[in-house]
Symmetry: C2
Subunit: 328 residues, 2 copies
């Protein structure tokens, strides 16, 4: 089997290589999976550069989620050859094959789109939990977010709509408005100095109490300045490379709070049953086509450097997927 | 009587003037007070420049707190001529005399230092509430703060010590260390890039979960980077003029929160009995000499511009007080 591997932290294009590894013999109760689709997430890039919040012992294979097909099972009836399953979380998924305990595998609901399912464990729960954890919203309430065209941003639009919340979506490129509106966005604004004023306009002066920030710097501050007294800005990414900040007028006079969200911490703190319930619910929404995000392109493992280069570019149209066993 | 007045927002030295006003006739139940001492707080300067969170209708007289002596009472036995009382909060206290309902006046505990009492209502409650509202501390826990030589900073040192908490105090000038240590500071550090590392050293690697920030910008970020997972940075001032920020490593990977604190909002949200209990407790601590802060100098109303200039300077040794009826 083949796997992407890195032995030092550094620029992703420089530190990654494709290596041949011997197939591991199955132990009783284990299944062998062929990896069908596995995405390149921002957290993978940050892991390669050594900037992520938890780093693997090196050498390591990147990749945290995806979908596989069972190709071999030893002494277990939990899954059968041919079954489509979610890859175990954090398994180092950028490889052609991996082995896992059959009992722990979660099957895809019948008819699920494999590409969409391969992106289920990182971004959809981030969007879903951020919508529920920080502020108790009621139907009709507004949510504000920047990086609205990101994978998380798009899931936020869909999940908010499903719950009856309205969204103001901040983007850098005007031409995204039509696409996000079609997805369910109630308002799309291009980020600019006058954002707080524009938010007031499009929401009719509603008290917006929750904002999501994946950009940092002044963009975070403009979100904070757009919120009503007592509002919360949740930072979950740093696309600008700048530290998220709030104006003192927001922190002091309007009691605006800046929080952070990291799914890894949430999983450490949340009982397994609650996690499983969340993933089952999201799997259902992906299976019935409610939750979906755009795919920029699929790449073979051999083209890992092209795939990484694309994943690290701005102005993408969607997520970059690796398809180590051919197109899916 | 004389009063400081301003009719437009702008530079404090330019917009303030001293004016003569007719003495108001007392209504039944009212008392006339001569103002003995009233401080120039940062919030007063921000009110004059128009940058504060709530602004008066102009023209207005600045000043929010102080101590007065009763010089006349009409049809009330609530106070007597000669009594020392706290001035009503937010009364526009930079004047020689003011009138107030006698029933609402809070007397100074006997033997209280008038200068210290005149500074009781803004900074001591800020320090006290910030120590209790955001993180539940236990004796032995550490608190981190910048601007440690400010009035609030010094009250934090004293109130923390009283509660059994330890303080790491960040300052800009090394020479303040001895003075703050004498006041009860457990550690004093000069602000610098390596602050997180220095905090670890002086606390023996303790999990610090609460920090107070009156500076903003990178200084806020260094406080955040010094805290343990789940910690809270409370911003209550912006001495640097820069927006408070956190690193994405702090927000996302360590769940650090940036909050703000404003006494005005606290008073709006807190039942009157609870407020009164707090002020009574603080008045006791000021009366017995436990709580005190340094005074840079006292100024007559006629010298309001000199007083404001001094209050707006860096590197002061303490608070600037107005003493409209002569030295106290």
């Amino acid at each position: 089997m083949k796997a992407v591997r890195f032995s030092t932290f550094g620029h992703p294009l420089k530190v990654t290589e494709l290596v041949e590894e011997p197939d591991a013999a199955l132990k009783p109760g284990e299944a062998r999976l062929e990896v069908l689709a596995t995405p390149i997430n921002p957290s993978d890039v940050l892991t390669l550069t050594g900037q992520y919040g938890q780093l693997p012992k090196l050498p390591a294979t990147p990749g945290n989620e995806g979908v596989g097909r069972v190709v071999e099972v030893k002494d277990s009836t939990a899954v059968r050859v041919g079954d489509l399953v979610f890859l175990p979380l954090g398994a180092g998924t950028w490889r052609t094959h991996l082995t896992a305990p059959a009992e722990a595998l979660m099957p895809l609901p019948p008819g699920t789109d494999v590409q969409q399912a391969s992106m289920m464990f990182v971004n959809p729960p981030t969007a879903d939990i951020m919508l529920r954890q920080f502020v108790t919203l009621q139907p009709g309430d507004w949510v504000l977010q920047n990086a609205a065209n990101s994978a998380v941003g798009r899931y936020v639009i869909t999940l908010a709509k499903l719950a009856g919340y309205k969204t103001v979506n901040v983007v850098r490129r005007e031409e995204l408005a039509a696409e996000l509106t079609a997805l369910g966005a109630d308002a799309v604004l291009v980020d600019a100095e006058n954002l707080p004023e524009r938010v007031r306009e499009v929401t009719g002066g509603a008290k917006v109490r929750l904002a999501f920030d994946a950009v940092g710097g002044d963009s975070t501050m403009r979100l904070g300045d757009s919120l009503a007294t007592g509002g919360v800005v949740v930072n979950y990414g740093g696309m600008s490379g700048k530290a998220p900040k709030l104006s003192t007028a927001a922190t002091i006079f309007k009691d605006i709070t800046l929080r952070g969200f990291w799914l890894v911490l949430w999983m450490k703190r949340t009982p397994r049953e609650e996690q499983r319930a969340l993933f089952t619910r999201l799997a259902g929404l992906i299976a019935n086509g409610t939750l979906k995000t755009a795919v920029e392109g699929t790449f073979a493992l051999e083209d890992i450097k092209d795939a990484l280069a694309r994943a690290m570019e701005g102005g993408r149209g969607g997520k970059v997927l690796l398809t180590p066993n051919g197109k899916v």
